[in-house]
Symmetry: C2
Subunit: 256 residues, 2 copies
């Protein structure tokens, strides 16, 4: 490890075996020294879950060639904690999460293991970026977006990174040459109009399978969903202070 190189931690929620993290490691390795600590199995939709009541395993893995890499039985957030406190024993210069197979725009940021890992990086006071591509296809070519992703990583390393904030980067499912550019956005107010498929197992017992339709509430021109629909890569600065400051005075009027 060259001491003048930036130390970049890479994680994700689709596991060390996913195509998206392979591409992110490849791209990040041209910009710094990469260490990978990522889940050993898919952890999509894990949100900001941590493992409180079970032991966590951590094993060296070889699928990233010369890059030092570990697979963990923990959640994406566990991986960030393990990386800092048990693998690196110091804070990296940058935390990258992804590239996620599937979009994490708008309120999906809350369900996303990819973004929760980036938010955990921000909670540790580290510059952090989560990357997601708007397709679940196994055939997706992540490397075609290398120029955009390199630019974002370089900019994060070179500029003053906003404190206690991470970036939620979503790439539309378009050929790279059709992407119009990168836009700084706000988190769209959208939500899943959830439905469950109600099915029967082989014993006649009911089970449910989560599905749903995604819709934007109060569409805004500065939202990440709008940017993606227009063919731009969206970048939302994302924080972990959830206080709704605008309603503090109203609540005080309840005279609790």
């Amino acid at each position: 490890m060259e001491t003048n190189q930036k130390l970049i931690l890479v994680t994700n929620d689709d596991s060390v075996n996913a195509k998206g993290i392979q591409s992110l490691v490849k791209i990040a390795s041209t910009l710094g020294t990469v260490v990978v600590v990522a889940p050993n199995k898919p952890q999509s939709g894990m949100g900001h879950a941590i493992t409180l009541n079970d032991p966590i395993r951590l094993n060296r893995v070889a699928m990233f060639g010369e890059v030092e890499a570990y697979a963990s039985s923990g959640t994406p957030v566990d991986c960030v904690k393990l990386a800092i406190y048990e693998v690196l024993h110091r804070k990296p210069d940058l935390v990258l999460s992804g590239i996620n197979h599937g979009e994490n725009s708008s309120t999906n940021v809350l369900y996303s293991g990819t973004m929760s890992a980036a938010i955990e990086g921000a909670m540790e006071g580290l510059p952090s970026i989560g990357f997601s591509l708007s397709t679940y296809s196994d055939e997706a070519d992540f490397m075609q977006y290398e120029e955009f992703i390199s630019k974002l990583i370089s900019s994060a390393l070179e500029n003053e990174f906003p404190a206690y904030t991470c970036l939620n980067v979503n790439i539309p499912n378009l050929p790279a040459k059709e992407i119009k550019g990168i836009q700084i956005c706000t988190q769209a107010h959208a939500f899943w109009a959830d439905r469950f498929d109600k099915r029967e197992d082989q014993f006649g017992r009911t089970y449910y399978w989560l599905t749903g339709e995604f819709g934007e509430v109060n569409p805004r021109e500065d939202s990440d969903l709008h940017a993606l629909n227009e063919g731009y890569i969206s970048v939302v600065p994302t924080q972990f202070d959830l206080t709704n400051y605008r309603v503090l005075d109203h609540l005080k009027s309840w005279n609790l």
Copy 2:
């Protein structure tokens, strides 16, 4: 079900078998018609996780006496979705989550299954409150706080509830008569200085167990941690728009 009664959904993350939800159901039942949909096993630290890749089970359970109740194999957030779309087939007037065994103040809101269920309620556009008590003791007497909890629930039903917001209520681990009152607060900026216990299993293989010390960064007098330390119940209005609006212009100056 009397039609003029308010419909109150109760859930939690400690499972239908926890003492905390028993107390919350008892208190809420004096203020409306309660339906329970909660996990069938403990789900502490699950954050905003949802079950994407597995079937979800939902079974009627009897431990709440005459109150209609269901236990689900899903996460707390799954429970809120299942309740609305598969059990009630309509939106309840109020979503209550808890009473959690353990504090969910400050940034713990992100890790908490209890609070994620309340946030999911807010995402569905519903008045929602998460309750937590600052102790893990099985001996805790939740019912002693009935007056405070009833007051909060009544106020939520009677007043204009802030849109797309839920309340994060934490009760200090004090005898009820020593509690000084209820304070409207901001989310403290605190975090876990995480450590892992590194242990060996019976085969000599390493495993990790998450532990840590909790510390406040930039202590503030209006924070929930401060209120709890002073002997007050803290109430933080909590939203799901994570955009850090203050840094949008700075990021635009990166010229991405």
